[in-house]
Amino acid sequence: MKMNAMSRILRFIFLPFFLLTVGFAQAQLSIEITGAGANRIPVTIVDFPGDPAASRVITSTVRADLERSGLFKLIDHNNLTFDENAPINHADWKSRGADALAAGSIARSADGRMEARFRLYDTQKGVSLGGAAYVTSNAQLRAAGHRIADFIYEKLTGEKGVFSTRIAYVVKARGQFLLQIADSDGQNAATALTSIEPIISPVWSPDGGRLAYVSFEKKKPVIYVHSLASGHRQIVANFKGSNSAPGWSPDGRKLAVVLSKDGFSQLYSVNADGSGLQRLTQSSGIDTEPRYSADGGTIYFTSDRGGSPQVYQMAASGGDIRRVTFEGSYNVSPRPSPDGKSLAFISRREGRFQLAVMDLASRQVQVVSDSNKDESPSFAPNSRMILIATDVGGRGVLSAVSSDGRIKQRLTVAAGDVREPAWGPYYQ
């Protein structure tokens, strides 16, 4: 069983080296699990009867997703194949150590489409936990696998899964900057923008259809909104000086931005089409990195108004400014969690830049990474994992860390630096 898990991990690591020969545009992220939860749920996914090749893609996607989450321990399925309606010997699976089991099938319809069906069982109680059917196609088999993994994850942990989500990040390689979009497992990477000038600060619109980001292609920082399906790009802010740090309002209508048009970095809000500019802060120092809270009522931001960069909050309409971080002389990049309960930020401690998470109710702060150069945290939509940019051996990599610091994954690209991650919203 351990060998199986290992070979799966190795496949993830080595796959990108083969893909490299296909072409750099395909540069895939590879994911390595470097830490797992303490109490992992033992689960078995048996092979689906029907189309063996399609079954392999779907079940391996489900298994890899569950394994990567750090919350599940995969119990060997002994190469067994049976469908969702076959009788289950619960006592037998229980004795093999599996608390839950999923079985399914793949049916091909006359029009070439496929239907992936599955059912999840609780072997402890000997009951079905429900199932679902997803219409899919050869090109969408992995997506169907992610949906099944999300179903299993939600039934067994009680919170929504994020396997069907996408992530955005910037790759720097060969003197170019690539803004890429990939599935949450690093597969299906596609390049949305290529530039010889830096691209920073991508953020997903709440509907998952657009990215706002800062591009230096006009030889200075300018904010764009980029529709992913069409490739259409719109300039949202291109004033004198720097235009940067976009953060979407939860309704997707506005962006909080940072403009230096009046000399230094101040916060403004602007409609997503670039109209309706409003100044939000009036300070003589640096105000930057605005992020709306999930309820839209508060903006968290970084400011040096107290003498060192710290996290502050204010009313989304401006005013009622309060300091949020107090420990240390450098706390930046605040990111409120989607569930509104916590705040991730980067804290400098004894010269190390580390990911910290504050519980907003108790204001307790916990450092959850053990790296030195963490940047740009981004919450998964279920608030459980946080994606960060960090550095391993002088190379930029991404790392996903659970908000309690236990589970860790590392995402790398074979031939370049990866940075500026942004975790997209739930699949819609």
């Binding site: 920082p221 740090a245 930057t288 990195e289 990049s333 150069k373």
Partner: protein, 181 residues
């Protein structure tokens, strides 16, 4: 305007690289770089303008005005006392040559938040701008921008590199539009 920008920036980058204090690096004419290659020919450039069309006094390493970089401490954006003379020299030149413009580019080291560094670089450029205007330079002659941590002069990952990258550079442009930006 757009057409001008790329060659202008390229030349700005070339000149930007040549603002180190080493005399053999500072001259604008590329032929001088061959002088050490064993040809036995000492290269001399006539008085007048350099390759960017700027007066020699702005680029001649013997001139104080060829020093264009102001370095900052970690997290700081105050112009240190040791650069007051340098800033004063540039202020004097700009006050006497109203047709000239400067682009102030603020930079930071690679550590910490990219966005915060973009703002910090802006503050550094603004600090130099304020020093110049306090000494009588017209605001209309100055533009300040930030490159944040995105364009490191030294690509290393240690304090030696970081100290080089916590910097504001002064780039010149003459009344005829020729220059370093």
């Amino acid at each position: 305007m757009k057409k001008l920008l790329i060659p202008a920036l390229l030349s700005a980058i070339l000149v930007g690289c040549s603002t180190t204090p080493l005399p053999e690096d500072t001259a604008g004419a590329p032929v001088e770089s061959r002088s050490g290659s064993g040809t036995g020919v000492a290269s001399v450039t006539a008085d007048g303008v350099d390759a960017n069309g700027l007066p020699r006094e702005l680029t001649d390493p013997k001139s104080k005005l060829s020093q264009r970089s102001i370095y900052f401490d970690l997290d700081k954006y105050e112009v240190k006392d040791e650069y007051k003379d340098l800033v004063a020299s540039h202020a004097k030149y700009l006050s006497a040559h109203k047709g000239f413009k400067v682009l102030l580019q603020g930079n930071t080291d690679e550590r910490g938040s990219r966005e915060y560094n973009l703002s910090l670089g802006q503050k550094r450029a603004e600090a130099v701008k304020r020093s110049l205007t306090l000494l009588g330079v017209s605001e209309a002659q100055i533009e300040s921008v930030s490159l944040g941590e995105e364009k490191p002069k030294d690509a290393g990952h240690d304090e030696a590199a970081w100290s080089q990258n916590r910097r504001a550079d002064i780039l010149y442009k003459g009344a005829d539009g020729r220059g370093e930006f």
